[in-house]
Amino acid sequence: MQLIKDGAIIADEWTALADEDALPATGPVIVSLDRFKLEQNLLLARKDKLGIRLKSGEAPEQIKDFLDRLALVALEFPAYRNGRAFSYAYLLRERYGFKGELRAVGAVLRDQFNYLARVGFDAYEVRDNITPEIFKLSVSAFEHDYQPSADSKPAVLSLRQRRLAAQKAT
């Protein structure tokens, strides 16, 4: 597995801690929601960055009050058909205003990057055969989109309104 962030393959600075792993003294760590609930004070007291990994079924509402203390949220895809985390990502970005890294982990396919990017993911754990070129091809499959989402692209609806306004102005 490798990490793609903002379209480039980068070294992963984060340690994904299993629940039974000892908490290291320093360095950014990603913990499960269960562990966060148990060791919340300890984890928030560390000086290094903290991330939480949510399983499918663990809605982000549960962490919404801590988001300003988190640098990363990882959302699990237990199977590529399981699209629950698309809604989680959208809510984290659009409703709860999460600005940190939003990482897709688990079973995601290259033909899904476009959708993932649109709902607000900016980092992906991917198979080793995914290159930045493949990633770029996938996310740029469509120049415009019909509906607004968590990306900054204007939806077709807005583009049509702009065109209409321009026509009226001339």
Binding site: G83, F86, E94, Q112, N114, P148, L157, R160
Partner: protein, 552 residues
């Protein structure tokens, strides 16, 4: 009808390019069948018993003559010269080669058509009334909002990997011809006391192995908020719908398990948030832009009174029969709706040859403003025909074997492809439908029976809508032998109901006689010119049970 602007066309073209790349990777072995499955299913490509099957989207069942000619060409060039119209107003090709599908999609794109989201666990083709724009009591043309929904749902980034498929249907008349109560979301266009148009929203209806009638979740959603409301329903479903069991993944199970009141509460809470954000508010200019495409054609001022038609009917018995069943009332005087039956005696319901498609496209061009509709009962329809042209239209249709005068009658059956094509099926449905149409082919007997919906499915997934047939037939497999279970009293319209199982299943040899017996019992019990469903609702299942099984 709607025409693509540069944005619509670009999206469809980009999809063709994307799918071409996916097929290339699949054929080169870079994509496993399982990985390819996700992509092909979002593009209407199924792997069936004998071959790939391709489902072409016909948004809300509306086509132009140009598009129908193109479909005819495509079935000749890439398939066996025929197609199959489905209960979701789409067209299926049974024999395309995977390597040809990208070119086929490019040809579709050239006439503003596609196969986007005709399968997969995403929002499917939005269906509607095939009499849209012509029905006398329509509140507004439902296709305007259908097109809005089509665009909003196309490649929706959040709702393309739902727990299961998701089907939306829209009706703008009190009499529901779009079966909205048995859809994941059904939208009934309504008018409030102030004369404003709004949307009544039903959710959690569906057929399949757990048939359920939808529950009302929105009483009057204003037009500008419809997308926000739909997004709210979809988000609740995507987050909380079950994913542990394929057969419990539809929204109907969520609504059923959580309860309609709780779903209403969750949707209302979500809607409040979405609405507050405001990004999905539907601008009136956009609605107006789309509405222009559905403006009524230039009707002439004509009278409904056309003596020459009555004269022709007096001379031509076939025409007289056809007038009795295949014509529906139109809002414009002097015009009528022509329903074209794809249910000739002994053939496959919904099948249409390339030559027939060309004939229908030509007739539409000459007599019906170049517009063709697909009905969810697997028939075609010309929405705006001058009464005075009816005999010419009938003659041209009849010459192409499209003059069967049985719309709404017992041989106007819905049937799924069944074991002849489908790898889910347990039993044949086409063969049963064919034998039933042969048994009941006497048109006068059919007219005597009156309106009766007879639907057959080849397995519990219920693509043949057997649950909502006045008489429903379900094919089941018992130790390798095909059996047929019969339900009575189903309905898909505004009185939607799930049929009652009448008793033990019949063998293939018994089923046609059993249906015949049911019809005779009804004819004995009916009062006046009561139709089957009304008799059934009055007397219940017992008299049918008693006589049907007493005979055995």
């Amino acid at each position: 009808m709607y025409r693509y602007d540069e944005f619509d066309q670009q999206l469809v073209n980009e999809r063709v390019a994307q799918f071409r790349d996916q097929v290339t990777r699949r054929l080169a072995g870079e994509l496993s069948e399982d990985e390819f499955k996700m992509s092909r299913l979002m593009n209407g490509v199924y792997l069936q018993l004998h071959s790939y099957m391709l489902r072409i989207a016909i948004p809300y069942g509306t086509l132009s003559s140009r598009q129908v000619h193109k479909l005819a060409d495509i079935t000749r060039k890439y398939d066996k010269g025929y197609g199959h119209f489905t209960t979701r107003q789409n067209l299926q090709l049974n024999w395309p080669a995977l390597k040809d599908i990208p070119d086929l999609l490019a040809e579709l794109a050239s006439v503003e058509m596609h196969c986007i989201q005709t399968s997969g666990n995403c929002i499917r083709n939005t269906t509607s009334d095939h009499h849209a724009g012509a029905a006398p009591d329509e509140l507004e043309d439902p296709r305007v909002i259908c097109e809005v929904i089509r665009q909003w749902s196309t490649f929706h980034p959040e709702f393309s990997f739902l727990p299961r498929k998701f089907k939306i249907a829209v009706s703008a008349t009190e009499h529901d011809r779009a079966a909205i109560r048995v859809h994941d979301i059904g939208i009934q266009i309504v008018k409030n006391a102030a004369g404003e148009i709004g949307y009544e929203v039903w959710a959690g209806g569906g057929l399949g192995r757990t048939p359920i009638i939808g529950k009302k979740v929105g009483d009057f959603v204003p037009r500008e908020d419809l997308l926000a409301f739909l997004e709210s329903v979809l988000r609740v479903y995507n987050m909380f719908g079950r994913r542990d069991n394929l057969y419990k993944s539809r929204i109907k199970i969520l609504v059923h398990e959580v309860g309609a009141d709780e779903i209403r509460r969750q949707v209302a809470a979500e809607f409040k948030e979405v609405k507050a954000r405001g990004t999905l508010q539907l601008p009136e200019e956009e609605v107006a832009r789309i509405r222009k495409y559905f403006a009524p054609p230039e009707f002439e001022t004509l009278s409904d009174d056309v003596p020459e038609i009555n004269a022709a009917a007096a001379k031509d018995k076939g025409f007289a029969d056809w007038l009795k069943s295949n014509i529906s009332a139109h809002k414009q005087p002097g015009y009528t709706i022509v329903n074209i039956s794809l249910k000739p005696v002994g053939l496959t319901p919904g099948d249409c040859s390339a030559d027939q498609m060309d004939v229908v496209a030509d007739i539409a061009e000459k007599y019906a403003f170049s517009e063709i509709r697909v009905a969810h009962e697997q028939n075609l329809c010309l929405a705006h025909v001058r009464r005075k042209d009816l005999y010419e239209v009938y003659t041209a249709l009849k010459a192409a074997d499209l003059g069967t005068p049985n719309i709404g009658l017992i041989t106007d059956q819905i049937a799924c492809p069944g074991l002849d094509y489908c790898n889910l099926a347990n039993a044949r449905s086409i063969a049963i439908a064919q034998r039933l149409s042969e048994r009941f082919q006497d048109i006068e007997f059919q007219q005597k029976i009156g309106r009766l919906h007879l639907n057959t499915s080849g397995c519990i997934n219920a693509c043949g809508h057997h649950h909502v047939g006045h008489i429903g037939i379900l094919g089941v497999d018992k130790k390798g032998v095909e059996y047929y279970q019969v339900t009575l009293g189903g309905a898909a319209d505004e009185t939607a109901a799930i049929g009652d199982i009448v008793g033990p299943a019949f063998t293939e040899g018994e089923i046609v006689d059993a249906i015949d017996t049911i019809v005779k019992i009804y004819l004995d019990l009916r009062q006046g010119d009561e139709i089957f469903i009304d008799t059934y609702r009055r007397v219940g299942v017992q008299p049918f049970k008693d006589k049907l099984y007493a005979a055995h």
